[in-house]
Symmetry: C2
Subunit: 500 residues, 2 copies
């Protein structure tokens, strides 16, 4: 089996949500748009996140993925149509899949390539301004954590009048520790209740500076969350990033038309990589900051897991299957296998099906180096996901050996894979839960729990879950060549070419 | 499939070895018997060793297992008939399997239960004295390492005349570091070249004492290797351990007869657990020591891996699949999955298919505690082997999930499992290498590479490798109950009852 993209029917939640009227207390929220940035790459949470499965798609921080949580947090504040996700080509399918119940598929804007936040925001701003000249853009990273949703909403509401009045509003978090991993915003004169002029932005400081900042009191963590009108941010981009402005102004007339995607590709060919912080906010005179305290974390490394889950009395974060003797200040995270530890002090241990990371917590930033080293040493397979989510369900690689690999595949009720064929491998399906409907050549038959079937090389086949409970199968692929590209599709309803 | 015991035909090596005449330079070696003690339990090398698969059976220290190496080291010094292994009931099958090419099966003496070294040696001594009143017993732990075989053989040869003269000869190793994990022997007056009177035995010392011992020069590590005549050790047991003597003297007439095993069981019902060191050697006046230097290690913990493999210039022992940034003084051992580490200092990391140990090297002795904790917390499954060796080949558990488990099974050429049936599980076999002959109900058919077959619940079946290369299959068992005891055998040629 290999892995068509696309979508399945929503669970009905989307419909329910649409029926719920948005709270439009003052008639202004209809201009408020959430612009969620989902372009991050997956290196800092390796081995759980992978290059093609970055942090925003992970569920390790709760029942929902970080992306889903970002949308959920604004539930009721703005209508589903006002959510937009900006992502890159290679993540668009995953974004659509994870947001399918709550926002319309056309609200996923695809960048041809990642170019940091300034181009992504410019693109969203031009598109939204075209549809609504009073559009307000609440820019949100897709992979941050917020503990206190009510405080978060209050902060947004406090910011709205300033954004309407032409300010670029940032959200500065009251620091709880001398963190060296965040940039800081120095708040200046008060402009309103909890809203201040920005005196300056400060790059990630050393520990001494960070301590001073926390003591001094007017320094806030730069959360990377912003609110401004599309009009204002475009004006400021024009002023401070003229090349970027020019690229998008040149294609503006195509946005919202059939030529849009081509036009965007052309524009991205012209622009440079840059952040909105550096390109606009640090230069603009129109920036203010909402002093905020909503339990925020950018979850920038394994250390930040503690921000989300809290720690036990020994300062440990212990998740998953483990037995630990006297751990202290350590992160012990297992995806299923047993971790057995003795006397860990300030260590991070992260276990996945195919790889285990072991590292002192004060060096977790070097996971990036490790990922580089894996590439250099020809171990790139460990940068691919061990669990992959798909519209029809998910699968994970259990084991790989000479001439075979074993996957655990879960198909949602009513899900169905494409009719396909492989030239170099046979496939063996064992149903361990649920019931499968199998097409093999001209036969169509059912395979019940604890039964199996076998698809020889070069025989057309299709797998389907006709039932009402998930279909779980073990698939063993065997053959000389097991690449995902050994697939010929006969009814690719999703119009995909690649194996995955 | 489940797991008959027993044996397969030897590879011809045994025959070849038998044809080779033993070196009997002085006509005395025919009295020399190696008595190999293979009763150790597998906790200190968890998770690689398991309760039912202790260290002596592991191959991690070289191509041969430690047990096989112990026999190999004496190759040519004594004839195959003069090797005896004393083991316990639950390890006897594994011992016979791993020694099948070199020593006769009847030379594996089975204790009904482990009772430490004194009863094991007493049993061997009574048996050997009955067959040969001049028998010399070279007592060897089965799970030690010796780097310099020639030096080892020289030490044995130096000891023989003393043993013949009625001495209890110990082998004391010149210490290379202030080791606190070993007992020490203080050498006294010289009795011959490199052979000394024993002044006293010293229990495992503290680090200060250990340092003194190394400086002082006459303290040697007690290797647990001994040489004495059966007659002498029985005399000394009679003198210092009268109860033990009485138990075996009472059953002596049955040794070598059909009633032997029953008699041994009766004797073991009467005796206490004790070591030969404590029971005899520390009390006897007839003890001497050969000052030895043959690169010995008892491989008493993961730290000792370094004694066997040496360390790299950073003091690390790195074995298996890993990528490491700046490790120092660490042991990093993978059985296949990827270990990715940053900045490890003095840590031991040991990875197996189902469990990973992470521990500072100075606390590896606490693995025993961890094993206890696993039992207490209901995780006893991790005390079972992940790879099990069998006469017909080996198998390992790849994955276990709700309602299924997956095994990788390797059958040697011509090997064959029993005809069997399961009441609660179906089995699915995928051939990934070689060719299988399958009996299923009344059918007999072949399953080629990349093909599969399926054995429904309650259908008699048999798996066989009729070919000349190993048969490798993936087996998925699925059903509500997957215990090894769900097996009914129809032609158990090995006379075994249990599932494994």
């Amino acid at each position: 089996m290999t892995i068509p993209g696309g979508d399945v029917k929503g669970s009905g939640k989307a419909a329910a949500k649409k029926a719920k009227a948005p709270k439009e207390k003052n008639g202004k929220n209809r201009h408020l748009h959430a612009v969620i940035m989902a372009g991050g790459r997956g290196t800092r949470f390796w081995p759980v996140s992978r290059e093609t499965f970055p942090k925003q798609f992970l569920r390790i921080f709760g029942e929902k993925t970080l992306l889903q949580g970002t949308i959920d947090r604004l539930d009721g504040e703005l209508p589903p149509d006002n959510f937009t996700v900006v992502t890159t080509v290679n993540q668009a399918e995953l974004v659509r899949w994870q947001t399918r119940d709550v926002i319309p598929a056309q609200n996923v804007i695809t960048e041809p390539m990642g170019r940091n936040t300034a181009p992504a925001i410019a693109l969203a701003a031009f598109k939204k301004r075209k549809a609504d000249k009073n559009a307000l853009l609440l820019v949100l990273p897709s992979d941050h954590y917020v503990r206190d949703t009510a405080a978060f909403i209050s902060a947004i509401r406090a910011a709205v009048p300033f954004a309407e009045a032409g300010k670029l509003v940032t959200f500065g978090i009251v620091p709880t520790r001398p963190e060296t991993g965040y940039g800081y915003i120095k708040a200046g004169k008060a402009r309103g209740k909890g809203v201040f002029r920005v005196e300056r932005f400060v790059e990630k400081p050393g520990i001494e500076k960070a301590r001073e900042f926390v003591t001094e009191g007017s320094y806030l963590w730069n959360s990377g969350i912003f609110l401004f009108s599309a009009r204002t941010v475009i004006e400021e981009i024009k002023k401070h990033m003229p090349a970027l402005y020019k690229a998008f102004a040149g294609i503006e007339k195509h946005l919202g038309t059939a030529r849009e995607q081509k036009a965007i590709e052309d524009a991205y060919g012209l622009i440079e990589e840059d952040s909105i912080d550096y390109g606009v906010l640090e230069k603009s005179k129109r920036v203010c900051v909402v002093r905020s305290d909503f339990g925020w974390s950018d979850i920038g490394s394994w250390n930040a897991l503690e921000d989300v889950t809290g720690a036990d009395h020994g300062g440990n974060v212990v998740l998953g299957n483990s037995v630990n003797i006297e751990p202290e200040g350590s992160i012990i995270f297992s995806s299923g296998r047993l971790l057995a530890t003795i006397g860990l002090r300030g260590m991070a241990v992260v276990d996945t099906h195919d790889a285990t990371l072991i590292c002192p917590r004060d060096r977790v930033q070097e996971v990036k180096k490790l990922v580089e080293k894996l590439k250099q040493e020809g171990k790139g397979e460990y940068l691919l996901p061990s669990v992959e989510e798909r519209p029809w369900g998910h699968f994970s690689l259990l084991e790989k050996g000479p001439g075979y690999q074993i996957k655990h595949i879960c198909l949602k009720p009513k899900a169905r894979l494409s009719l396909q064929m492989h030239n170099h491998r046979s496939e063996h399906w064992i149903v361990v839960s649920g019931m499968a409907k199998v097409q093999r050549g001209d036969e169509i038959f059912r395979v019940n729990k604890n039964e199996s079937t076998y698809i020889p090389v070069a025989v057309k086949h299709r797998l389907e879950n006709p039932g009402l409970i998930p279909l779980k199968i073990i698939e063993i692929q065997s053959g000389e060549y097991l690449g995902e590209d050994d697939i010929i599709r006969f009814d690719d309803v999703y119009g995909r070419e690649t194996g995955r």
